[in-house]
């Protein structure tokens, strides 16, 4: 790895880019709209899946049929019609780009602003990128370097073929098919996603990274991610999203499962930037995600997320602290602007002794948006000396947005120590004038204040990701005060 330079990377990705790049006009093979057992079977068949996988999907589908969409979240939207969605679309042929002109200019502009424009996108020498385009993974890089260490990092559809024993053992072990409405649907129809396995005692030498993207209008995106860190191993996993502008609402219901065995550590960082809808609240992605990790003895899982996109976000990355001395962390920045709605937070389930969890949530609301933090800290009866610290800060911009905090605490063990702090502040005229007086215009001043507010979380992101996230915050709040 050490010999692999940034130039090599750039070179490799330049070719990859043109082969697989962000191309909007891909002829895709698409299933008819709607979902039933035949569709589920067809998806499984398309992927050439073994019998057990097909059965697993069908079981999930049967459960899903009996479930109802949850309504408890503080979000309001026109429910997607699940029979109007096509559950499978795969690029038929590899797209060929003749020039950059063929790329959605809106998207190019966003990439440029983020500093991940097509040309330099491939940026970071130590990031392997597994680009998921629509529902099928079309590019995987760095496979060999990883293979040397015995690390498996591949589309989950391939993993089902090549490492069925691992997938079978762990899939659904943290998020069971019966877990919730969206997780059940995902289990039935997921088309692809990523699989990652770090062997015992191995430290993954690079940040593993996946770019998700919705490409086909009206195609639901059901990604499935499974990360297994074997005993004493370490991995940092990055997930980032961009989506092109859409008129129709697009459903995204991913499931992410993390398994940290004894003494293992998983860092999972997300920058989520799905299309949030236009200034009137039209269009935009519905993001209903189930993310959960389980920690065995002395294991640690950290979720760090920067959420700026989506029309509606419903997402609670959680940790089950099953092993003794295990540690769960949740660091989150959620930005809502215009008509966006976010209901996000975490669950920390303390089961083992001396388990520790930290929750830092930063909500930023602008425009007419609604931003809710919902968190559960649960201490089981056998979790002696469990500790939790939660801090939820809200920053409001203007008078038409809302910030809400719903902390739930359930303790069945008296030795638990739980601390909760919450603040709400507003960007004041006086702060803006102070910055203006120092030559900093209002737009830049807001960015500065917001970055300061979010700092504790931004600091948790891998360096390069943090820079990108910072820019994303600025873009998301552009024109929100004036």
């Amino acid at each position: 790895m050490s010999k692999y330079t940034e130039d090599d990377l750039r070179e490799e990705l330049k070719t990859k880019e043109y082969e697989y790049g962000f191309y909007t006009d891909i002829e895709s093979e698409k299933f008819p709209n709607g979902v039933n057992e035949d569709i589920v079977r067809a998806i499984s068949k398309k992927k050439n899946e073994p019998e057990w996988m097909t059965e697993w999907r069908l079981e999930a589908f049967r459960v899903w049929l009996k479930m109802e969409e949850p309504e408890w979240a503080n979000v309001h939207y026109k429910k997607p019609s699940f029979q109007d969605i096509s559950y499978y679309s795969a690029p038929k042929k590899k797209p060929k780009l003749n020039s950059l002109d063929e790329v959605d200019p809106e998207m190019l502009a966003t990439f440029e602003k983020l500093g991940i424009s097509l040309l330099e996108q491939k940026r970071l020498a130590n990031v392997a990128i597994d680009i998921v385009m629509d529902s099928v993974s079309v590019a995987t890089t760095f496979k060999e370097t990883l293979a040397e260490k015995g690390i498996i990092f591949m589309p989950i559809s391939e993993a089902i073929q090549e490492h069925p024993e691992l997938v079978k053992k762990y899939i659904g072990s943290v998020v069971p098919t019966t877990d919730n409405f969206y997780a059940a649907l995902n289990s039935a129809v997921f088309s692809d996603g990523s699989f990652c396995y770090i062997p015992k005692g191995v430290r993954c030498p690079m940040e593993l990274s996946t770019y998700f993207r919705i490409n086909e209008s009206g195609t639901g995106q059901f990604e499935r991610t499974l990360v297994v860190a074997d005993k004493g191993s370490y991995v940092s996993y990055l997930e980032g999203c961009t989506a092109p502008q859409r008129d129709e609402n697009q459903l995204h219901a991913a499931v992410v499962e993390l398994i940290a065995l004894d003494d293992a550590e998983i860092k999972y960082s997300t920058v989520q930037n799905w299309f949030p809808g236009d200034a009137e609240g039209k269009g935009g992605v519905f993001n209903f995600v189930t993310k959960r990790g389980i920690c065995e003895n002395n294991a640690k899982i950290s979720w760090t997320q920067v959420e700026t996109g989506s029309a509606v976000t419903w997402k609670y990355p959680s940790c089950i602290l099953k092993g003794n001395n295990s540690v769960g962390e949740f660091y989150s920045i959620a930005v809502t602007n215009n008509y966006q709605q976010a209901d996000t937070g975490t669950k920390m389930i303390h089961l083992g002794k001396n388990t520790k969890s930290t929750i830092i949530s930063k909500g930023i609301s602008a425009g007419k948006s609604q931003n809710s933090y919902r968190g559960l800290v649960q201490i089981g009866s056998r979790a002696e000396n469990a500790r939790n610290f939660s801090q939820c800060d809200s920053l409001l911009m203007g008078n038409e947005c809302g910030a809400h905090t719903f902390p739930y605490i359930e303790t069945k063990n008296k030795s638990a120590q739980i601390e909760h702090e919450a603040t709400t502040s507003k960007i004041g005229e006086d702060q803006l004038f102070y910055c203006n007086q120092r030559g900093i215009d209002t737009e830049k001043a807001i960015a500065l204040i917001v970055n300061g507010f979010s700092k504790e979380v931004l600091n948790k992101l891998p360096m390069e990701f943090a820079v990108e996230a910072q820019k994303l915050l600025e873009i998301s709040l552009e024109g929100s005060v004036g």
């Binding site: 005229e429 006086d430 004038f433 007086q437 120092r438 507010f453 700092k455």
Partner: protein, 250 residues
């Protein structure tokens, strides 16, 4: 440098400045004194362009240019600096980051590149030494948890970094103990040149022992009612403001 003629300004229909005249030339130090509520901070805010204040009539010129229509940041780019009476907190933004942003935004407005990091660091070192500021202080969040004295010293540090043409110090002396006062005054004196000007707003004569003004003005009820040299400050210290009020009213 600064010329103010017959300035009237109000906030929320309450008129505060009522026909104020003031001329400050390059190389000069002016002191503005006056009782609480006279309108001193209002004058400073109006010069700096705070939008809540409405200028109803009169003229403010900076280097011969009417600045009434300029945004506060544009005035800052033109060299106006205000040391606030009550500096605000910006959590999570370090003093260094803030000053760096401030300098680079001004440079950008002048079509210059960002200041090279090396130069920036050197300048920070130099100015923090001048003002006897511990460099650890610069890594703290701007004004968050600062003592009154630290806030004021930080204002002067920013002034030293930005090297403004016209600096307005609004009660920078209040909250400073005698040592800090000396350090701050020394800093201001060092930065003073024939090309820039300083307006010192103060309640007390104390600061003027260290910063010698060329002119002392008394602001009362929205107008400058008396102007003199440094000795006027001593007289005010001895006799208070009542005699001036009487003079005005008679």
């Amino acid at each position: 440098m600064l010329k103010i003629e017959n300035l009237h300004a109000q906030i929320e229909d309450k008129s505060i400045l009522k026909g104020l005249n003031l001329e400050v030339k390059a190389g000069e130090i002016h002191a503005i004194m006056g009782p609480n509520g006279a309108g001193k901070s209002t004058l400073a805010s109006v010069i700096a362009g705070k939008e809540e204040y409405e200028v109803t009539s009169g003229l403010i010129e900076l280097n011969g240019e009417d600045i009434n229509e300029l945004a506060p940041e544009e005035r800052a780019h033109a060299g106006v600096f205000l040391s606030f009476q009550y500096p605000v907190e910006i959590p999570g933004v370090t003093v260094t980051n803030f000053v760096k942003t401030s300098i680079n935004e001004s440079r950008k407005a002048q079509g210059l590149e960002d200041m090279p990091a090396k130069e920036m660091l050197q300048k920070i070192r130099e100015k923090s030494e001048l003002l006897e500021i511990d460099r650890k202080f610069l890594s703290r969040s701007l004004n968050e948890g600062f003592s009154g004295g630290e806030k004021k010293r930080n204002e002067i540090f920013q002034m030293a970094m930005l090297e403004p043409k016209l600096a307005i110090l609004d009660e920078t002396d209040s909250g400073l103990d005698i040592d800090a006062l000396r350090i701050v005054a020394n800093g201001v004196n060092k930065l003073k040149s024939k090309d820039n000007a300083v307006i010192v707003i103060t309640h007390y004569q104390r600061l003027l022992n260290y910063i010698t003004p060329d002119f002392v003005h008394v602001l009362h009820d929205g107008k400058i009612v008396k102007t003199g040299d440094a000795s006027l400050a001593l007289e005010l210290e001895a006799k208070g403001y009542d005699w001036i009020k009487e003079e005005v009213n008679s």
